[in-house]
Symmetry: D2
Subunit: 286 residues, 4 copies
């Protein structure tokens, strides 16, 4: 695993100031490392600088010390950093209910090597997908959720996720609202797929809402979950055309294809450390 | 003009019943006319039948009597009909303010023969586009609108539109809200282009709203104007991709291309008698 | 299965003549049947009339005699007809190699009820997907294909497909060219998914071809297989945006999503008897 | 004009080597200039480094000396550079025939301030658009082209373009093939809009070719013109959906909307110094 020098990825952001591009690339160059990709963005209104850098250290570098030194350097510049190394696979926790298309889509992409991650567990409020999870070789935990027991169920979910050491959680059409408490406590990002073009049709039964309104396009939105339902920073969205011949069940069917592709794209970007959320928005270095 | 037999188009709708397709096509066949196109739709939930038929009567047919007879026949079936003949061009009234891209787009398409209609007048609450209208050979009327004089201004607009005998009105980024009174009195459909993907971002400054929300797609919506702002039956919508690099003015610029194409498509469908509005929705026979 | 009266679908085509819509709908109405959908198209250049009608016979109708009578009636009109009843599921034969995304996508859609059909067998020139087919509950046949034994292999494939009574065959990224002999002998339509926007990049390694040409969009095309490679009537196409950052393997990855959706749409349309191929084109009544 | 310090844009490319990002950004930082945007790309297969940098020099900087020094620095690094300053508008020469939609679209965008450039002349092989050009305030030159006189006509075109000092030429549906001689002599890039999804349907009458093939999407392609017809580096492409109901003239009409938007996008990118052509491809820093 350590045979080849890993590549390192940094996501940086902080107050804009002159010379940041020169300073970060200069630091890396001074280490005789090789920048493979670099992309930056400045929010001129807010005065915030964002950067994603991918580099390969000189062979023989002590990676952990190198990353620590880089981190200290970034903090001196007044910026925050998320750092990742290519030889450590992120761990993804999966929440799912009964609807399975996003679940299978994620699992098949993962199995085929499209997603570079580990999947240590699947948690569901129903038992329906236990065998499917087992077929993919992933431990399955059935944590029923009822109104009266929601707090305990969420505590159990958090315990499982933290025990598994997940780096982020995906809600693969998980049909329960996660409480603000859950999101504050879980300690990692949670990506949700909502089956509408947000901010249109937030909340329950968005395809029914879309049908009632008579829109000519339906959508899907992948976003980070926040305490306000369907209101977190948007990572990716897409739409598909519908017409008067489409009943609600046609919208549901066409929407499934949207949901799968939008969700997978958001997961891929997050896995590749391409997404920086700030305020209610995201910067996506694609 | 009467040298060639015109084609006739009927838009029909009413309570569904067995045999409607057979009856309407049978009536036309019995007249020795030739059906060129026919398309129908049944809203099974509401029990409403919709049909668009295009046919060419036998040469020598007295068109007006033929249409009267058809209309009587349709009423006997309990349906309503909109009827049009290809040798009578619809008249379109244009409302515009200062922003000119939808105005020019419409005028150039019309001049190039893409829209088969007459354009008897342009009305604006500003004088800015007077010369441009003149260059297209269309009478221009400057009707200023102020809060205190809105009722009078609308009365003047209606008088001009009715005098010109318009069949429908288009709001080419006309930046005033038309009152319920106006819409009830004008007596013809009014098509608006709204610069968002409705129902998201109704009301003022939708691109600013979209920017603030951090959406990854912006949209445009052409709809029939109703008394509730930005809430009428949607005719056409489309979207374009944006990202974190786009400032509000980029959204505005990209949006202009969307608005032009969506607006033109809605106008074309309306001109070709392809749109039936019912409740808050449309059937578009495209 | 016979408890409810099935719906019937007819795909008709033949030389255009006056009154065809009236005649076909009149015949059905005369049987006291109820037309649920009807759509027609006339190729004015070629003088060909196409129609798709869906109707529900009067309860108690002898369906087979009814269909025979309809067929005879259509032949009298000089047209050809494909007839289907909703209570008889079409049988689909699957050809696949090693690449599995289209295979899994089809199977999962089928298992979830999105495709109303039977899948009596999977045939592959490799053994790799035997277990996966078994997990879906479908008999798997390994028929190796080598240059020297291609004729025998194809004979074996045809024997298996005909024995299973398939109504059509899908090539789920089956990586062998089917011979003209196969296509002439198999006696049913064969749907292929090609991983380019045909007619661009026909033949082998289309993503490599697309990369070399520097296109800004990649595509996928579902079409009926004919004796000329990648040249049959196109059923559906779609594209996705790429840029200079995408290597060939990114095109391959993005292309998989296109292939799945385009292939599934073509299969769905074929299953619903919405596609009429004529010459090198299709009419799709969607 | 010199009141505010202009921003400078550099497009760089050359053999990849370690430290290029650090060196270029370090040079600019050492001048106390402020990098506003920077984007880079490495073609790992070919070993070529590409970069676009936008920066604002310290107030009071002698811009021309600054650019000369930067240029010398870049050459020392073994790279080539295209340099531009925001206070010098590029000059665009327009070639057009009779078909006017791309011409009007370009002119209206330019007049509305969407394109920051000068338009010193329009050259056409027909006299039809003389008045329209005059209405936009641009000198119009009628240079007829016949098979026998093509060489002289091209010499005349080149003389006019060079006299006007154009930085690049756009072919706004100019219906003549420019000879290799013209392209070699004119000494600046030439952007063409082709009305198909290249490489499909190169050459004459692409919409007729697309109709005959029965494609389900039509396209448009903006590319740099090279000696091989419709084969130059592609800048932008897009597609629109068509179906069996669309006749050739419908493809032509729908295609016009594609052509306008694709052409405008390519021109905008070129004007903003976002496009680097190499081999038969482009890098577009969008």
């Amino acid at each position: 695993m350590k045979e080849e020098t890993p590549t390192l990825t940094a996501l940086l952001f902080g107050p804009d100031q002159k010379g940041l591009v020169a300073k970060t690339s200069g630091w890396i160059f001074a280490c005789e490392a090789n920048i493979l990709h670099a992309d930056q963005h400045t929010d001129l209104e807010e005065g915030i600088f964002f950067q994603r850098i991918v580099w390969q250290p000189r062979p023989g570098t002590d990676i952990e010390r190198h990353l620590e030194a880089f981190h200290a350097f970034i903090q001196e510049l007044g910026m925050q950093a998320e750092l990742a190394r290519s030889d450590v696979l992120p761990k993804v926790g999966v929440l799912v209910s009964k609807i399975s298309h996003c679940f299978h889509d994620f699992m098949l992409r993962w199995k085929s090597g499209e997603f570079l991650c580990e999947v240590p567990l699947v948690i569901s409020n129903h038992a329906d997908l236990a065998d499917e999870a087992a077929a993919y070789g992933v431990p399955f935990h059935h944590v029923p959720v009822a109104a009266a027991t929601k707090a305990e169920a969420e505590a159990r979910q958090i315990a499982l996720l933290q025990e598994a050491g997940v780096d982020f959680v995906i809600m693969a059409r998980y049909m329960q609202v996660l409480s603000a408490d859950f999101l504050n406590t879980v300690g990692c990002p949670v990506i949700n797929i909502h089956h509408s073009f947000l901010p249109a049709f937030a909340g329950a039964k968005p395809y029914h809402q879309a049908f009632a309104r008579g829109v000519k396009l339906i959508g899907a939105t992948a976003h980070y979950a926040t305490a306000v339902l369907d209101d977190g920073p948007i990572i990716q969205q897409d739409v598909a055309r519908v017409n008067h011949r489409h009943a609600v069940q046609d919208l549901v069917r066409k929407g499934r294809d949207l949901e799968k592709v939008v969700f997978a794209q958001a997961i891929r970007w997050h896995l590749e450390h391409r997404v920086l959320a700030y305020g209610n928005k995201t910067v996506v270095f694609d």
